[in-house]
């Protein structure tokens, strides 16, 4: 990064994070966004919820600082923050809802993280960082070592070290981390855990940028389609196969494994129970930080899947060609329409097919009928004493028993025996399970019935919503006579 005066000046004017820090209402913005998005690890918030939260916040602040402390309304602040020239919130409409939703932009999250880092830490552990660095170097050098001899030698060396440690412990010499070393490591863990959470928004943002770049390349492509497809599809999936995509997938696979999650939970619990750590008063949310990772990661995962799918759709043969042609024609249309703007055509100009066939049957229209005048008379309501069978209210599905037993009799006229399945096959069920139950009831009342437990029959029917259901029951056979 270029760190000269001009570059920084430009950054201060354009980068949302710096602008957030410079803003007049920065404390309000930062504290509010931190409270609603970062603390509870929330990704998406509906506008109404966000407005309500901000109104509460403003109310409290005005109580403290006087009524004219913050002139705007909650909604106007939000709109302002989501505006392109601020860029602190991403405003979007998720599928299936008409309400705008918000998420933090990675830039504002960065500003918040920086603010968080401003406060003094009790002490800065350096040992754990050095160890982390060593470990990273070791992984890199080992992971790229192609010589099997060297690899085995390294593994043997480590085995010897472990053996030595085992021997020492057996001999009664148990090395323990002292409190300082423990706190040092825990602090390192805390920081990395939080950073990981912060990174997800950035990862997601990077995916969006990647997607946009691919789309731009498609839109501006001048050559043939084949060449473009070759370029884009040579990577099997432009997004998932990027460095970003692969690293994220590896992370995700790692986190998703059951044993890893269990291990994480167990280790977290053990570590957080240690007295020196307890003394540091860790946030209770740390116990489930890996679930927070999962949640945030899942969100990113979904975004990536959606982006990939839409990109594929965008690349789809027809849409691609059609879009190009359409942009060409539209260019023509605009030029012509501009030339016509002082004499725009009157009356009908174009026609377009309707979206449905409007079948309008004249005879279906009701004849004229004078409106019924409701006369409201005053009548005292008396308590009745009639005996009414309320059971009728509960048997709204009417299965005609007579009809069903008619079917059975008709089938038995032609042969000696018939199974329930055969009857149902000839006379499809119209009332579903209720009808099956009536059949079973009829069968139990039938003088000559046998049930074959060995064989099973399937009865199928279609519900009103068009789903097919089936019942599996032992074969019930009805006989003409014993």
């Amino acid at each position: 990064m270029n760190f000269d005066y001009n570059a920084l000046d430009h950054l201060r004017q354009t980068h949302p994070a710096w602008r957030l820090l410079c803003a007049k209402y920065a404390p309000l913005t930062a504290s509010f966004l931190h409270r609603v998005f970062i603390v509870p690890n929330v990704r998406i918030l509906a506008e109404a919820d966000l407005v309500e939260a901000l109104e509460d916040e403003l109310f409290v602040l005005r109580e403290q600082m006087g009524n004219d402390a913050f002139p705007g309304s909650a909604r106007s602040y939000l709109t302002d923050w989501a505006d392109n020239d601020k860029g602190w919130l991403r405003k979007f409409y998720p599928p299936g809802t008409d309400e705008p939703h918000y998420d933090l932009t990675p830039a504002s999250e960065k500003a918040l993280a920086w603010l968080e880092g401003l406060t003094d830490r009790a002490f800065v552990g350096t040992e754990s960082r050095l160890l982390t660095l060593f470990e990273l170097l070791r992984q890199m050098s080992e992971g790229t070592q192609t010589d099997p001899e060297a690899r085995i030698a390294e593994l043997k060396r480590r085995r010897d070290e472990i053996d030595g440690e085992i021997d020492r412990i057996l001999a009664g010499d148990i090395p323990l981390l002292d409190d300082t070393a423990l706190k040092d490591r825990f602090q390192q863990f805390l920081q990395l855990a939080r950073e990981l959470l912060t990174d997800f928004r950035e990862v997601e943002h990077n995916f969006r940028v990647l997607d946009r770049r691919v789309r731009e390349r498609i839109a501006l492509w001048e050559g043939g389609k084949g060449a473009l497809l070759e370029e884009i599809m040579s990577e099997r999936d432009a997004i998932a196969d990027s460095d970003q995509g692969r690293s994220f997938r590896a992370f995700w696979d790692f986190l998703m494994s059951q044993s890893r999650q269990e291990e994480l939970s167990r280790l977290l619990e053990e570590v957080l129970a240690l007295p020196p750590i307890q003394a540091m008063q860790p946030e209770p949310r740390l116990y489930r930080v890996h679930y927070d990772w999962l949640e945030a990661g899942e969100h990113t995962q979904r975004t990536v899947a959606r982006l990939s799918e839409q990109l594929r759709r965008f690349l789809d043969d027809q849409a691609w060609l059609e879009n190009r042609r359409i942009m060409d024609i539209l260019h023509h249309i605009e030029t012509r329409a501009l030339a016509l703007r002082e004499t725009i055509p009157q009356g009908d100009f174009m026609s377009l097919a309707e979206t449905g066939a409007d079948i309008d049957l004249p005879l279906e229209r009701p004849l004229f009928r004078p409106a019924v005048q409701n006369r409201i008379t005053e009548t005292a309501v008396d308590e009745g004493d009639a005996e009414v069978d309320t059971g009728v209210l509960f048997s709204q599905v009417v299965v005609d028993r007579a009809e069903l037993s008619g079917y059975i009799r008709r089938e038995l006229q032609m042969r000696d025996q018939v199974s329930l399945g055969e009857i149902v096959a000839r006379h499809p069920l119209r009332h579903g399970l209720a009808e099956v139950v009536v059949y079973l009831q009829l069968a139990s009342e039938w003088p000559w019935t046998t049930v074959d437990e060995e064989h099973r029959e399937r009865l199928r029917w279609r519900t009103e919503t068009g789903r097919v259901r089936e019942a599996i029951l032992p074969r019930v056979i009805l006989l003409r006579n014993g």
Binding site: F92, Y93, P95, D98, R208, D211, R212, R215, E216, I218, A219, R306, L307, Q310, F314, A319, E322, N323, R325, I326, M327, I329, L330, H332, I333, E334, R336, A337, L338, A339, L340, R341, E342, T343, I344, P345, Q346, F349, M350, S351, L352, A353, E354, T355, G356, A357, D358, I359, L433, R460, R462, G466, R467, V468, R469, E470, A471, I472, L473, P474
Partner: protein
């Protein structure tokens, strides 16, 4: 003794009842996957049957699985068979409505090229900005906005935009617009414009397409 479970809807026997459960809604209008998933599934399964059936009515099933919508369209007219009345009526559109449709289609194409969201949502002001330069310059701003509102209402009636619940200032451009305002329609529009210009100008200017 009895267990019930759901099985797929791929029963081989297509009773006329099943078919009508799909064809009738189709005749009434667009089926969206998002709005009625069960109906959509039935339609996708019975696709072939539906195609055959509506062919008798001179209709063609347009089904876009990726975008999740389906509708019926009049089949391209056969020059040999004249006089078959259309089942799907054609709606006459005024010039500003036609132009606005074209501009919204452009916006949709640009939107698809620019990002990953699927829902194109515009405020009324943006729509006004979209078409303003193509309309005669006038001083009465409110009248212009009212007019554009009327055009938008017309387009909403056609089913190509819808106003967001609770925020009447915002409209969603429905993706089905792509299927109706296609390259064919747009080039017809372009040609009409050229003809009109020739008529009004009375010049002998030749069109370039």
């Amino acid at each position: 003794m009895m267990e019930t479970n759901a099985v797929g809807t791929n029963l081989s026997d297509e009773s006329p009842y099943e078919l009508s459960a799909v064809v009738i809604p189709l005749l009434k209008g667009i089926i969206y996957q998002e709005d009625s998933p069960a109906l959509w599934l039935a339609l996708v399964n019975l696709q072939a049957g539906v195609r055959d059936y509506v062919a008798v009515l001179g209709l063609e099933l347009m089904l876009d699985e990726a975008e999740g919508y389906a509708f019926l369209r009049s089949r391209e007219e056969d020059p040999d068979v004249a006089g078959t009345p259309r089942l799907v009526a054609r709606r006459q559109l005024s010039y500003p409505v036609s132009l606005l449709l074209a501009l919204l289609r452009k916006k949709l194409a640009e939107f698809d090229a620019g990002g990953a969201d699927t829902r194109l949502i515009l405020s009324r002001d943006e729509v006004v900005e979209l078409i303003r330069i193509f309309l005669p310059a006038g001083s009465n701003e409110t009248r212009l906005i009212d007019q554009i509102d009327t055009h938008l209402n017309k387009i909403a009636q056609l089913g190509f935009v819808r106003r967001l619940r609770g925020q009447k200032q915002m409209i969603e451009v429905r993706r089905i617009l792509k299927a109706f305002v296609d390259a064919q329609w747009l080039s017809d529009f372009d040609r009409r414009l050229a003809e009109y210009r020739e008529e009004t100008a009375g010049t002998r200017e030749t069109t370039d397409d």
